[in-house]
């Protein structure tokens, strides 16, 4: 696919699962909501933050890949069994590493994601302070 219009095509490519497909029906909870609206809401919120491993850059809540369906089934049935969303996330991270979660938590591999915005905020504050607080212009 050399035709580029890259911005759009890559999004397009996401919708299409180019893999060979199995003929099995989707897992029970792949396309079925939980009866308890509160639990379904929890499950939905969690699924939107878990990465589909077979697709590029899509959450399992946004994918028709069978494996995403099986992951949704896992999430919904575990929530229905009373498991906490964060416990399910941790269970997946234990298996796939941080890659599977779109919600980076502060850890030794992700701390710059949080430190840098903090620095940005400080620099922003400093810039404003210098620019506005001082009586003299900034040129030295």
């Amino acid at each position: 696919m050399k035709c580029l219009i890259a911005a759009l095509l890559s999004i397009l490519a996401l919708t299409a699962t180019a893999h060979a497909q199995d003929s099995m029906p989707p897992a029970p909870y792949a396309y079925q909501q939980l009866d308890d609206p509160g639990q379904e809401e929890q499950a939905q919120a969690l699924m939107e933050t878990l990465r589909c491993l077979k697709c590029q850059s899509q959450s399992i809540a946004d994918s028709d890949a069978p494996m995403a369906g099986d992951m949704r089934h896992q999430v919904r049935s575990r929530i229905a069994a009373g498991e906490e969303p964060e416990a399910i996330r941790a269970w997946l991270i234990d298996r796939y590493g941080d890659y599977v979660s779109y919600d980076p938590k502060i850890s030794e591999t992700t701390w710059p994601l949080f430190a840098i915005p903090l620095i940005l905020a400080l620099v922003a504050g400093l810039l404003l302070w210098r620019r506005i607080g001082r009586k003299k212009g900034a040129a030295t």
């Binding site: 696919m1 219009i5 890559s10 490519a13 779109y102 994601l113 940005l120 810039l127 404003l128």
Partner: protein
Amino acid sequence: MIAEIGLAALWLAAALAVLQLVGGVLAVRGQGELASVVRTSAIAQGVLAGLSFVALLWLFIATDLSVKLVAANSHSAKPLIFKLSGAWGNHEGSMLLWVTVMALAGGLIALVERRLAEKTLLATLAAQGFVAIGFYAFILMSSNPFERLPIPAVEGNGLNPLLQDIGLAFHPPTLYFGYVGLSVAFSFAVGALVTKSVTPDFARAMRPWVLGAWVFLTLGITAGSYWAYYELGWGGWWFWDPVENASLMPWLAATALLHSVSVLAARDALRTWTIMLGVIAFSMSMLGTFLVRSGILTSVHAFAVDPERGSFILVLLSLYIGGALALFALRANSISEGERFKLTSREGALVFNNVMLSAILGIVLLGTLYPLATEAFDVRVSVGPPYFNPVGAIFTLPMLLVMAVGPLLRWRQDNLTRIRLPLVGVAVVMLATLAVVVLLGAYSLLADLGLAIAAGLAIAAFLPLRGRNLLRVPLATWGMVVAHFGIAVALFGMASESAFSEEKLAAVSIGDTTQVGPWDVKLEGVVPVAGPNWTAIEGHVIARYDGGKEVVLDPQSRNFWAPPQETNESQLATRWNGQLYAVIGNQAEDGRWQLRLWWKPFVTFIWYGGMLVALGGLLSLIGRLATDLKRRRALRRRELRSGEAVA
């Protein structure tokens, strides 16, 4: 023959770009007699690049299959509009379109720009030539759109109906126009760094280009978001995908630049800051192009990754941006900061929001590039909405609050007690909305705050008009009002979508009715349909809003066979207060069909808002250009009267 003419014109244009650069540099260094050479070559370069692009269009209209690019991307049976869009719907053609628009812009500057100091103008044109040379080299050395095939093809390749979408035809040029506008702003910034003259006149010369670029970028992002929304089939409208971020970053930078250039034009303040933003805005468009085309962030499955192209763009990027930043580091010291002002002033509010926008830009950049950085250490992480939304909001929410107040303040120095009444009014509206939303059932902190701020901002946007004769309000002010109101509208749409959306996944038999929000949705039937290279099942769905009139929807689940892909064609029922989004999935073994339904209240406001923002930019642009024209005519009349020759 046409292809050879196009190629020859392109080589000539490239040669003129070199002349423009060399002549410009010499002229700035004192050989003033070269000025006319620089101007002339800028104009001629525009004409030649235009000619070259027309040649390419011609080849696509005639479907000349001896040209490789045409054979690979077109087909004799394509409708004319898609033959035309085929010319830029590929790597080579899009680069040619980019450089053509850039050359035309350069020619236009040479032709009409009279406010700028002669030296700064020449330096700007030289910078423009420098940027263009890189693109010409890229096209001529590795992406020649006019390459012939040894044996002409019998028929073209490109009849992929996926690509025959009117949105796809016009989305890329929209973004390129935006990028080119920013490249012009970049050249202005470099020109000013060279001559160290950053003046309000310089800002006025630069502003229309920034405004124009910003309008195009706004339209491009709005359209791209809507396209992803209806095409992806899951109801999402923004995913913080690297490709989306690549289009958002130039917009954020352009928004900051637009406001700082206004401060520079009106008050002669923020000189170095404006220059810096000019450099950053263009670097973000180059960076986006690099990220998308090199494929280092997107999937290898989605693209034929071309590391050679990636490397070429990276080299251009480092030359342009590295060069400009080095120049900045060496020269910025000798540019004085300009006029001073107090925190509670129009400038103060604008500076605050400029800093906030830059911080948001920094966060989007960080979140987008971070996975790339950790990959170098063999660690894979994902950064998605749960990161971008809250971290971005830390800077976005204060920015929106200041945005409500800023336009009410006076330049230089003001007093908040002077605008006490409108301030209290806006605050009351926000708090009342917040109270109502929380009483309705507190959704999420961000959505609640979004709704409250949207309500206040919608009113605040019109406050600059209070007590003024509406017929006398300048067009540029109207532009600001409309654009700010558009932001409020879009924000309302986003928050409402996030807070009130309802989802229903249902397995239904034919004849069954299911509910989502206020809608009753009945599956009437399912029929097979076929397209040129796909087959599909089409659901016949009848929806009623609150027992009202029937709306018919026909969502499809398509199977393409070349290449094999499954896509869901969603169908939307649009009302003034939202959209019903329907997707049909597969049939289960018990014979029931999968229906995915969403009721998204006021979701359309997101894109209406985007369009209002673009309209505001357009009004502003027209207003500024009209004022410029008037001033120029007055100037010429005065010059004629005093009997002096026009320089």
